[in-house]
C-alpha cells in the first residue's frame, strides 16, 4: 500500500514536472523531429531517386550510418561534436543539439518510408501514364504520389510514435522530457519504482492515444479512396 501512497504523494507534489514539463517537452521534441524529418526526409527521398550518382551516394551513406548506429550514440555525438563544427550551438541549451540529432535521425527513416511508399505503387501506373503522353514529372506528381501518400502516411504515424519513445534517450542531457522528469524527481526522492510507474503510465497514455488517433485517420482515408 505504501507504494500507491508514494505514487499519490509524488503526483501531488510533482504533477507539474510530469504532466506539463515532461509531456510538453516530449511532444515538442517528437513534433519537431517528425516535422523536420518529414521535410528533410522528402528531400532525401528525392535525392535518392536523382540521376546524380554523387548525391545518391551521399544520401545513401547518411541513411545507412543513421540506421546502423544507436540513437543514444548519435545524441552524444550531436551534443559534444556538433558545437565544435557549429560554434553557435555551444552557447545554446542542449535541447537544440538534441532536436537536430532527432531530426537527422528521423529524416533517415522517413526517407526510407517515402522511398518504399513510392516503390510500392505498381510500376504499371507510371507506364500507363507515360504511354498516355504525360511527362515524367506530371505522371509522378498526379498519378504516382497521390497513391504513394496512402502508403506513406500510416508509416509516418508509426514513426511519430517511435520518436515519442526515442526522445526518452535525450534525458541523458536533462532536456526536460518525461524521462528527465523521472530523473529529477527520483534524484530527490530516491523512489525509483514509483516514478518509473508514473512515467510508464504517461508514456503509454501518450502513445496509445496517438495510435488510436492515427487509426481513425487511416480509416477515414480509406473511406475516401
Amino acid at each position: 500500500m505504501d507504494f500507491f501512497t508514494n505514487i499519490a504523494n509524488i503526483m501531488v507534489k510533482y504533477w507539474k514536472t510530469f504532466l506539463l514539463q515532461g509531456i510538453g517537452y516530449t511532444l515538442l521534441l517528437s513534433l519537431i523531429a517528425v516535422a523536420g524529418g518529414a521535410f528533410f526526409g522528402s528531400l532525401m527521398a528525392l535525392a535518392k531517386r536523382s540521376k546524380l550518382k554523387i548525391l545518391k551516394g551521399i544520401v545513401n551513406a547518411i541513411v545507412e550510418v543513421v540506421r546502423g548506429t544507436p540513437v543514444l550514440l548519435q545524441l552524444y555525438i550531436g551534443v559534444f561534436v556538433f558545437p565544435m563544427i557549429v560554434p553557435v550551438l555551444s552557447s545554446l541549451p542542449y535541447i537544440y543539439s538534441v532536436a537536430i540529432v532527432l531530426i537527422i535521425n528521423s529524416s533517415a527513416y522517413v526517407s526510407e518510408i517515402i522511398r518504399s511508399g513510392i516503390e510500392a505503387v505498381d510500376i504499371g501506373q507510371m507506364e500507363a501514364a507515360r504511354s498516355l503522353g504525360l511527362t515524367q514529372r506530371t505522371a509522378m506528381l498526379s498519378i504516382v504520389l497521390p497513391q504513394a501518400i496512402k502508403n506513406i502516411l500510416p508509416a509516418l504515424g508509426n514513426e511519430f510514435i517511435m520518436v515519442v519513445k526515442e526522445t526518452s534517450l535525450a534525458s541523458t542531457f536533462f532536456v526536460g522530457e518525461l524521462m528527465t522528469a523521472y530523473l529529477k524527481v527520483k534524484g530527490y526522492t530516491y523512489l525509483t519504482m514509483e516514478c518509473l510507474v508514473i512515467v510508464g503510465v504517461l508514456y503509454f497514455a501518450l502513445t496509445f492515444i496517438l495510435s488510436k488517433l492515427l487509426k481513425s485517420m487511416e480509416r477515414r482515408m480509406k473511406a475516401r479512396a
Binding site: L19, V79, Y94, T172, K184, K186, G187, Y190, K212
Partner: protein
C-alpha cells in the same frame, strides 16, 4: 470507436483526479522552509558575484544525486538545480569573476563534456581515482561534509547492526554504483573474500530497488547519500553499522577539468584553497542536507530563518 472514447474518458478522469489533488494541497510552505538556509548562501554568493568580465564558466553536473546536486522542481531555470556542488560552482564563478552556466547531464556525460571542451569543469561529486587522474586535470580536494569521508554499507531494516566487520559479509552479495568510489572500496575490501561483488548498478535509485527486492543483500554508498536513501525509504532501509576504511586520497571530492586547461586549474585550486581556509564548505553542506530533507534546520544548527547559530 465507442471503446476508444471510453478509454480516453478514463484517462482524462485520472489526469483530473491527479490535478485536483494537486490543487487541494500545497507543500509550498514546508518546501520554502527546507530551502531557507540554502537560499541564503546562494543569495550571498550571487550578490558578491563580479561583472563576469572573465568570460563564462560552464559547469557540467549530474543533478540526480541528493544532497550533492539535485532538482527543486518548484524553482525555474538554472535556479532549479540545487545542492552543495551548485553552491561551489557559484563560488568558483564569483572568485574567477566569470559568468556561471550550469549544464545538467548524466554522470558519464559530464566526463565526456569536459573532455570535448563542451564544459570547462565538471563538479558532480567526483572522487579522485587513478584512471581519472590519467585522463583529466584534477583540482585540489574540496570537502563535502562527511559525504565522502564516511563510506558505509546499507541493508534492509531487519539486518540493521548485525554486520560490523568485513568477515560478517562472507557469502553475501554487495552491490554498488558502477565507476564510483564505492566500487573501488568494495573491490579493495572484499576482493579476496568469498563475497559476491558482481552486482554493478547504473545509478543509486536502481540499486535501492534491487536492495528492496532482495536481489542484492547490501549496497555500498557514501554516507550522505545513504542518509537520503534511508530518509525516503520509510525506514525500510538502515545502515549496517559497517564503515569502510577510506584512504585519504579518496576522502574528498574533486573537480574534473580538461587535461590542457592548466590555467583554469590553477585559478580553481586557488579558489578552493581559500574556501577551505575560510571553512565555507560545512555551511554549504549542512544547508544542502536540510534542503534534501535529510536533516532538519535545528539538527544542523540553523535558526528558523536559515542563519547558522554560532556559539
Amino acid at each position: 470507436m465507442k471503446k476508444i472514447s471510453k478509454i480516453l474518458c478514463m484517462l482524462l478522469c485520472l489526469a483530473m483526479i491527479f490535478s485536483l489533488c494537486a490543487c487541494g494541497k500545497s507543500d509550498a510552505d514546508s518546501d520554502a522552509k527546507l530551502s531557507v538556509a540554502y537560499d541564503k548562501y546562494l543569495a550571498d554568493l550571487k550578490a558578491a558575484a563580479g561583472d563576469g568580465s572573465n568570460g563564462t564558466l560552464t559547469v557540467a553536473l549530474s543533478p540526480d544525486f541528493a544532497p550533492m546536486e539535485f532538482y527543486d522542481v518548484a524553482k525555474t531555470g538554472d535556479d532549479a538545480i540545487v545542492g552543495f556542488d551548485v553552491l561551489l560552482a557559484y563560488y568558483l564563478a564569483k572568485e574567477l569573476n566569470m559568468k556561471l552556466v550550469l549544464k545538467p547531464m548524466s554522470f558519464d556525460a559530464c566526463q565526456a563534456a569536459v573532455q570535448t571542451g563542451n564544459a570547462d569543469i565538471a563538479i558532480s561529486g567526483f572522487s579522485w581515482t587513478y584512471d581519472r587522474a590519467q585522463n583529466y586535470a584534477i583540482s585540489d580536494f574540496y570537502v563535502a561534509g562527511e559525504n565522502e569521508t564516511q563510506q558505509s554499507i546499507i541493508c534492509l531494516k531487519e539486518n540493521e547492526g548485525k554486520y560490523t566487520k568485513p568477515e560478517d559479509f562472507i557469502g553475501s552479495k554487495i552491490g554498488y554504483q558502477g565507476a564510483s568510489l564505492q566500487q573501488i572500496l568494495v573491490e579493495e575490501t572484499f576482493g579476496d573474500m568469498d563475497v559476491d561483488t558482481s552486482l554493478v548498478y547504473v545509478d543509486l535509485g536502481t540499486a535501492v530497488e534491487a536492495l528492496k527486492a532482495k536481489q542484492v543483500d547490501f549496497l555500498a554508498v557514501a554516507h550522505g547519500n545513504g542518509e537520503s536513501i534511508i530518509a525516503s525509504a520509510n525506514d525500510a532501509i538502515a545502515f549496517t553499522g559497517f564503515d569502510f576504511e577510506v584512504d585519504d586520497i579518496y576522502k574528498n571530492n574533486v573537480c574534473l577539468l580538461n587535461k590542457n586547461d592548466t590555467e583554469l586549474l590553477a585559478l580553481v585550486n586557488a579558489a578552493l584553497a581559500k574556501a577551505l581556509e575560510n571553512d565555507y564548505y560545512s555551511g554549504w553542506y549542512d544547508a544542502s542536507k536540510v534542503y534534501a530533507g535529510v536533516k532538519t534546520l535545528d539538527e544542523l544548527g540553523f535558526d528558523e530563518n536559515g542563519n547558522k547559530i554560532t556559539e
